[in-house]
Symmetry: C2
Subunit: 421 residues, 2 copies
């Protein structure tokens, strides 16, 4: 029987042209992050099923590719439910494995630890255009730093990377704090136990607008008074650091001392320090889906692209789930696939780093002559060139056109009879 030629549902083969862009973008990101003192690390793609299903991953936990137990551990006849069949799964993000990694290796790592992790993650999402079940994330995280230096460095580093990859593209960083979100809900008069539900509705703001949010909250049964007070707060809030301070004064009774100033200070310093050209705005409606965030949250949008291209925030409780001891943690993740899509759609081509030459030799060239040609190629490669040695096709013109598409700009032709051309 013939084997299956297509990739498995929802995953993709990456062709050389896209691969060039991917490699280029990855190198730019890694170089930038390294210049900020982040250290590369790697975690296994396979993670304990107990960790993956520990309620850290929100809806992603419904999308796990689970791995079958092996050998004697797989007891098919006794198995009553899915959980009996599996002991591990493919990671759905890089944050959970990073937290496990830090818990496991903290003694061998500097403190604070600035981690750079690039890797594939898997989610069994419904297949749809431009969205794949295996995709790459690029994360930086600072573990063990409770000060706002962590947020400032993460935002500065990520915006520097984005500015380098997509020069000329306008982008904005929206920023908020889970504590401010919580205080706003409390100030409006929503019961404390409903906060998460209010956030879920608020998170739909970009889709349904403020009116839609009001309507949905009322439908949930919250008092008209609370809903109005809430939407008033959202509508009136400004977007700069001063607005954060002003909101902090309004929310004083509901917010821990210094919280608003912390966020405003991050905004001030980032604005002063960051070298990329972007907008930094306070967005009181920014929620970010993941339940694990505990403080500052941020998200990057790019001109002409719906949805975010990067996002992150502070998650001070997750490492404690592994160690029993809380460790401050804050991270920023670049949606690598989205950046690649934006660049491909805009016709981006990778700047050539070296000359590309194709050596074409005539069919039937004798071994001694071929060896000479290959020695010439070796010398050109040692001098930094990129050289393809290939047999000349019958249709040489077409062959050259194809090679030009692959980036070959120089051609050398080698004939058996040196006089022939």
């Amino acid at each position: 029987m013939a084997l299956k030629k297509k990739p498995v549902t929802g995953m993709k083969d990456i062709l050389p042209a896209e691969m060039q862009i991917r490699d280029y973008v990855l190198n730019q990101i890694k170089e930038t992050y390294r210049s900020f003192g982040f250290s590369s690390i790697e975690t296994p793609c396979v993670e304990h099923i107990e960790n993956l299903t520990s309620k850290q991953g929100g809806d992603n936990e419904k999308l796990i590719f689970k791995i079958l137990k092996r050998g004697e551990k797989l007891k098919l006849e006794e198995a009553k439910e899915e959980g009996d069949l599996t002991d591990s799964g493919l990671r759905y993000d890089l944050t959970l494995p990073l937290s496990r990694y830090y818990a496991n290796n903290a003694a061998s790592l500097p403190s604070p630890f600035k981690a750079l992790q690039v890797g594939s993650v898997w989610r069994a999402d419904r297949p749809q255009k431009g969205r794949f079940r295996q995709f790459v994330q690029c994360d930086i995280d600072i573990l063990g730093d409770s000060t706002s230096l962590a947020e400032i460095e993460l935002i500065t580093a990520t915006t520097t990377a984005l500015g380098r990859i997509c020069p000329g593209k306008k982008f904005s960083v929206r920023i908020n704090d889970r504590e401010i979100l919580r205080a706003m809900a409390a100030y409006a008069g929503f019961p404390e136990e409903s906060t998460e539900q209010v956030f879920i509705t608020l998170d739909k703001m970009d889709k349904i607008g403020l009116d839609g949010v009001e309507k949905e909250l009322e439908e949930c049964g919250y008092s008209r008074e609370a809903v109005e007070k809430y939407s008033g707060l959202l509508a009136q809030a400004g977007s700069d650091a001063q607005a954060v301070r002003a909101l902090g004064t309004v929310l004083a009774d509901f917010l821990p001392e210094g919280r608003a100033e912390n966020l405003a200070g991050i905004m001030d310093t980032v604005s002063e320090v960051a070298t990329a050209d972007f907008q930094l705005v306070f967005d009181p409606t920014l929620v970010r889906g993941m339940g694990y965030y505990t403080g500052t949250i941020f998200e990057v949008s790019m001109e002409g692209f719906g949805g975010s291209v990067a996002g992150g925030g502070r998650y001070d409780k997750m490492i404690g789930r592994f160690t029993g001891m809380e460790t401050p943690a804050c991270g920023f993740s670049i949606g690598f696939e989205r950046i690649v899509t934006i660049l491909m759609d805009s016709g981006f081509t990778v700047p050539a780093s070296s000359a590309r030459t194709a050596y074409l030799f005539e069919k039937g060239t004798d071994p001694a002559r071929l060896a000479e040609i290959m020695k010439e190629a070796a010398a050109e490669r040692q001098a930094g060139g990129q050289v393809l040695v290939a047999q000349m096709n019958k249709n040489k013109k077409f062959q050259k056109e194809q090679l030009q598409k692959e980036g070959y700009t120089e051609f050398k032709e080698f004939y058996r009879d040196a006089l022939k051309r």
Copy 2:
């Protein structure tokens, strides 16, 4: 309940020190291969279970991490055997996915196609020291070229890469041809249907020696005469290209015309063209485990390291399993993890590409002053430096020692009171 801190059995967390070496080695390999005109590609880590279990992978097929069907497709109650539960698995090598990739995308690819693929593969091997269940392979393959140019380029490129990564390390490339192996068995008088069994015994040569091979073959019930004729052939064969030609004359009645000359020609040209310093030897006992090889096979051993560090060969039948049409194919795979192990064991350190400076600021530095410090760091980063900004610890001496271990050579200290030191 606390979550699990250790990685899943047999897989590993990679610490920054190892990661630096891994990144360095990968870059060297990729740069070298690109200079030979190989194009990067990527295949999904998850592959159809039908492809993974199609007898292309030999014993590796027993080691597959299988992925559970999802949603309605998983019918636990009706499932009678493992196969009913799974529709895909993690790839155990890069060759099978590459063949599928080429079958799926040939129309968009140049011909011949020179592919470079780097990626993780998974095998549920019994956990043992230095051997992991997730590991990286670096493969180059030339698809669509039936001439020996493919072998010559693969061997030249791989030896160039190994020479760059491990300068001063002695290594040797052993080379053979499955057709010559087959002809030797036929010449000795083994029945044609036993050829594979004879190879399995011959493959143990490095462990049990020629005596052991003879003994095992006799125990298998082969005639004393055949075994003696066979071992005589093995013992007498020389190791250079002339020896291959001589053996070709002896085996003339059993070998397709030109086979021995093909291998000898590869050896001649590689010896002349390759720039790295290595031994190239004909090894009539080289088998290589995988059943899919059809012609030339090769393997690299490195001084002071048991086992091979790279290997490959020609597999002209595999792509036809997908397309129904035979396509010549030849590949060389570097055992990336082994190279990393060799470098780590020899105390290798990655050459620093840029100055690393740590900026240490005193606790309590006010935001305006911190912003100034960070601007100075940004300027140094833009000039190509690597700058870490961190709060000064109480034990500054220890902190600096730790940072020196991470590669920081320069330190700048910033105090709240400029006069204090």
